[in-house]
């Protein structure tokens, strides 16, 4: 039993490294409270170590932390390439976000509390890393809560304006209610099936067919919790308010990493729990709950609501929030097709989404540092005042729209290929129409930046060398991957396999 424990602990070194880093940050904050500038670097060292370890453990495919009798085969975590891929995405995002916070004036204003800030940030990372490999309902709940609790506090951490604490309260209320509802759904599943392990649930479902209202009800309740994390349509109300009120670095983190963790959780839950058979990459799901139509309805609703609401937004953070809702809709389509091709599309999409979304938020942050506003009307003529920022933002927004020759085009293309493979033409047409709608609000920003005249004097925008380097790190791949995209496809392909029964 103990040998198993040590073996399992050796499988989750990245998680252990992040936890130890978290404790070290707390300890460091306690002991040296004179100099806080080292703390982010301490976090960076831990995250880089975890990233290198994750990149090195590609082949691991096993169950870990088996509880109960020796006869049990399935544990609390299942470690496989798919989970590792999302773990890598989360770690890369968090490393970028730490650099992001270093140049954010909002975070500088609270530098005396930066120990707590980075502790909570690492707490979020830890929760997400467990989320992507959790294979037991209770582990799913605990990891979601670790993520949520840290992010509630971080949302209102700066307390610079009234809206910060308001965003925090809204996130808290929506978040705690939806996670409570998810837990109730889990308890019903535990009662109906007699197990909380998703592999055991799959085994039970394969032998006995459960087809009752309570079963569907419980699954919808569980989806409410996951749907909240990925901001899918009926559970998306928190997103614009929280994204607008939170510090920009946290907004960027929530929009990429938290969403990635939620998607990894949803994919693992759907594929492992309900898979009956896998014929040449097409997942045949068990009877009882129609995941395909359910997910299609949710995703069409999500992208349409997100895109149309974004049309009327004047605050850029709020607009990007609605745009991130719309992107969640496209990604949900990749799951709804229920094929390995769709899974590949989602994985590629996240890698690209990471680059372009963090890039767009970073530029909004630099401009907000200088002019103190995120309102689109204050952006007039900024393109000529800071041509580098203007051109970079243009490229990121074109990539978010999904036009060639940017990486955003490739990611959307793969989603459409996956849709056409299973003959979902109507859904594909809706998705294309949505992209056309999204073009309007992205172009509107560019119109303000380059064309609109302003009677005010155009403020000077200071761009430091660090900013240029950071933007180029995100910008160059966004452009290159738009033309030469086989590396990311190969990279994602290597991590495609999910551990199933």
């Amino acid at each position: 039993m103990l040998e198993n424990l040590f073996k399992d602990l050796s499988l989750i070194y990245p998680e252990i490294i992040v936890s130890v880093t978290l404790l070290l940050v707390v300890l460091f904050d306690l002991i040296y409270d004179k100099n806080k500038t080292i703390i982010p670097y301490l976090g960076l060292i831990g995250l880089f170590a975890a990233l290198f370890y994750s990149l090195g453990s590609v082949d691991i495919e096993t169950h870990a932390f088996i509880i109960g009798d020796t006869g049990n085969k399935f544990g609390l975590l299942s470690l496989d390439p798919f989970g590792n891929y999302f773990r890598i995405i989360i770690l890369i995002t968090s490393i970028l976000i730490i650099f992001f916070t270093k140049s954010s004036s909002e975070i500088h204003s609270i530098s005396e509390r930066s120990g707590e800030f980075y502790t909570l940030l690492l707490g979020m990372v830890l929760g997400m890393m467990f989320m992507v490999s959790a294979s037991d309902l209770i582990m799913i709940y605990i990891s979601v809560e670790i993520l949520s609790l840290s992010s509630y506090v971080l949302t209102g951490f700066t307390k610079l304006r009234d809206r910060d604490s308001e965003a925090s309260l809204k996130y808290l209320i929506y978040g705690s209610a939806s996670s409570g509802i998810m837990l109730f759904g889990m308890s019903l599943i535990y009662g109906l099936i007699g197990s909380t392990n998703i592999y055991e649930i799959n085994e039970v479902l394969q032998t006995t067919s459960i087809n009752s209202i309570i079963y569907s009800f419980a699954l919808i309740l569980i989806f409410a919790g996951i749907g909240f994390k990925i901001s899918a349509a009926p559970f998306h109300f928190w997103t614009p308010d929280v994204y607008e009120g939170a510090p920009i670095s946290i907004t960027a983190f929530l929009s990429v990493a938290s969403k990635a963790a939620g998607f990894a959780l949803l994919i693992r839950f759907v594929k492992v729990t309900f898979l009956a058979d896998n014929i040449e990459g097409n997942w045949i799901l068990l009877q009882g709950f129609d995941w395909q139509n359910f997910l299609i309805i949710i995703s069409v609703l999500t992208m349409t609501l997100g895109n149309f609401a974004a049309l009327w937004q004047d605050n850029l953070k709020r607009m990007l929030a609605y745009s991130s809702i719309a992107h969640a809709g496209y990604m949900l389509l990749g799951i709804a097709v229920l094929t390995d091709q769709g899974l590949l599309a989602v994985m590629i999409y996240f890698l690209v989404y990471l680059l372009m979304n963090i890039g767009a938020f970073y530029i909004v942050m630099i401009i907000a540092n200088n002019i103190g506003s995120e309102n689109i009307n204050d952006y007039n003529k900024l393109g000529s005042a800071a041509p580098f920022l203007g051109v970079s933002l243009t490229i990121f927004l074109i990539s978010l729209t999904g036009l060639p020759p940017t990486a955003g085009f490739i990611s959307k293309l793969y989603i459409f290929i996956a849709l056409l493979d299973v003959k979902m033409i109507a859904v594909a047409v809706i998705a294309v129409l949505n992209s056309v709608v999204s073009l309007y609000y992205y172009i509107r920003v560019l119109k303000h930046m380059f064309i609109n005249e302003t009677d005010k004097t155009v403020p000077e925008i200071k761009v430091s060398l660090n900013d240029v380097v950071f933007i180029l790190i995100l910008l160059v791949p966004t452009l290159i991957l738009g033309v030469y995209f086989s590396p990311i496809v190969d990279f994602a392909q290597a991590f495609l396999s999910i551990l199933v029964n």
């Binding site: 103990l2 424990l5 404790l23 707390v26 300890l27 904050d29 306690l30 409270d33």
Partner: protein
């Protein structure tokens, strides 16, 4: 004939009926002479001082929050204590790590001064401003 819970149910009904009948009987036969003295809140025979709806100092909440967390985390030690013997030394190490993390949290609270019962940091001026703001909202 009656199950265990049936007996309790009967007991509950009887208890309720007893109180109800006593109050009803007292209502019928008592004299009715209401006065101001009778409406006062009972404070051991003294005249009451101030409103009963006092606002507690905000630091009670902070201390309560800290207490809540540490109090509940200890629950996790019960199952650990049950299986302590089967795991021997490693069980001890696991528990020690858990307690160490908790201790780190407590040291943090201590160092950051959240356990101190000093004077409130919010000054009189700010408090008055807040109260004015609230009055404006009420009116």
């Amino acid at each position: 004939m009656l199950t265990e819970f049936g007996k309790i149910f009967v007991f509950i009904i009887l208890a309720g009926a007893f109180v109800g009948i006593a109050i009803f009987a007292a209502m019928l036969i008592r004299p009715k002479r209401p006065s101001h003295e009778k409406d006062l809140i009972y404070e051991c025979g003294e005249n009451p001082e101030g409103s009963p709806w006092v606002k507690f100092n905000i630091r009670f909440y902070v201390v309560a929050l800290i207490f809540l967390i540490f109090d509940v985390e200890i629950v996790l030690l019960f199952p650990w204590a049950l299986v302590y013997k089967t795991f021997g030394f490693y069980g001890f190490v696991a528990g020690a790590i858990f307690l160490l993390v908790l201790f780190l949290g407590m040291a943090y609270e201590w160092r950051k001064g959240d356990l101190e019962w000093a004077r409130p940091k919010i000054n009189r001026l700010e408090l008055n401003k807040l109260l004015e703001k609230k009055e404006q909202q009420v009116s």
